[in-house]
Amino acid sequence: MKALPEALQQLIQAFSRLPGIGKKTATRLAFHVLKMDKEQAMELARAIQHVKTNIRFCSICYNITETDPCPICRDPLRDKSTICVVESSEDILLIERTNEYKGLYHVLGGALSPLDGIGPEDLRIKELLNRLTPEVKEVILALNPSTEGEATAIYLARLIKPLNIKITRLARGVPLGSSLEFVDELTLSRAIQSRDEL
């Protein structure tokens, strides 16, 4: 590594901090940046800077946004009677891609995980409860199907139930295109529990 100029070494180190990027890939990427024309490289640098300076949290749903409130909270066509609770902003992206959901969102910022020191006060639970006005008729708990996600869902359900708001959660079961042979027992048992009537 000593043969490489200091600036290039720094870039390799920066790339190797990204998820899924090892030292070899980081070196390849750094050399690619070196070969880029100056304007392209500056564009990349500006995009990174822009993301870090202009992206913030929506003050209503805590999704990442450039404008506050975020485009989803501002959209008059969204169904304001339904709030879908997710763990992170990436989950909103996934649900939006389905084109199935037209309501609002609330980003909790994680799930209860006592062994990681994450308790109710570390999540945006108070903010969610403040949003539950009489206009809200349903809260969908779209949390990860992990032990921590489930515990968070039960915890939230306990807080929301007295407000007489319908609480639902995502169904779990066999993935499309899969075969029962390859489905784990836990998923299969959940699929049986949340079976549909035909």
Binding site: P19, G20, L112, P114, L115, D116, G117, I118, G119, P120, E121, S146, T147, E148, E150, A151, I154, Y155, R158, P175, F182, D184, E185, L186, T187, S189
Partner: protein, 250 residues
């Protein structure tokens, strides 16, 4: 030379490692084991759904002394304790037990009998719809203190060695012993905890029981107080502060 170990295990904690792998912490009859489950986050991974906290699994891992972190090669689900997961109090109590293990045990310390006890305790907690879940936590804490070598001495007064007849009695978190009303006075500077007759009977009964049962007397009002001094006793002897995050849910 590598050695293959096949063992039942309880999943205590998992965390993401690199793009698609997980580091899993397991409580096994061999003690606490930390392993890497390569590709566990991939959609087609055989570990998917198996390496969830609270699950009892059968794990197979390869031990190579030159490697810092051993590799989990197979995991099969034995019990997912569905009814614990469906109940917030039961989940909090089970998490509190795992949190205690994670904080107090060091890897390499084997606890085969305690492992068998804990799996049984989870099975009973899973099925039990009558006993308040917190009794399971107290039973666990009493048994765990015993396992670590500083059992509670509740049956007789540690000064006069008589079975306490007058109440309240006084519990000392540092010694884990009770002192009867005749031998101790509440004005003493030692950190005594007052135990009412009902609390004393409940704890002695729990200590005698193999597992908690609905037949235990009525629950005292200040449940957190009892959990607090049982934890204080463990913390005193291990020198590790024990504030369990899971109990904040209750």
């Amino acid at each position: 030379m590598s050695q293959v170990i096949k063992s039942p295990a309880l999943v205590v904690h998992t965390r993401r490692w690199s793009e698609s792998s997980k580091i899993v912490e397991l409580f096994t009859p061999h003690g606490l084991v930390r392993l890497i489950a390569k590709g566990a986050l991939r959609a087609k991974s055989p570990f998917r759904g198996v390496l969830e906290v609270l699950n009892e699994i059968e794990a197979v891992w390869h031990v190579r002394e030159t490697r810092g972190l051993q590799i989990l090669t197979q995991a099969t689900l034995l019990n997912s304790f569905q009814d614990i997961r469906g109940d917030l109090e039961k989940t909090a109590v089970a998490f509190a037990m795992l949190e205690t293990l994670q904080k107090l045990l060091r890897s390499g310390e084997a606890f085969p009998a305690f492992y068998a006890y804990l799996v049984q305790l989870f099975e009973k907690l899973n099925k039990d719809a009558q006993t308040p879940p917190v009794l399971y936590l107290w039973h666990f804490l009493i048994r765990f203190s015993d396992e670590l070598g500083f059992a509670l001495q509740l049956e007789r007064c540690s000064v006069c060695h008589q079975v306490p007849q007058e109440f309240p009695v006084w519990f000392r978190p540092d010694t884990g012993a009770v002192v009867c009303g005749k031998c101790a006075s509440p004005t003493e500077s030692t950190p005594y905890v007052e135990l009412a007759a009902s609390e004393y009977r409940l704890l002695t009964q729990l200590q005698r029981m193999e597992y908690p049962a609905p037949s235990v007397p009525e629950l005292p009002h200040q449940m957190h107080r009892i959990t607090g001094f049982l934890l204080k006793h463990l913390a005193h002897h291990t020198d590790i502060p024990l504030e369990l995050n899971a109990l904040k849910w209750l």
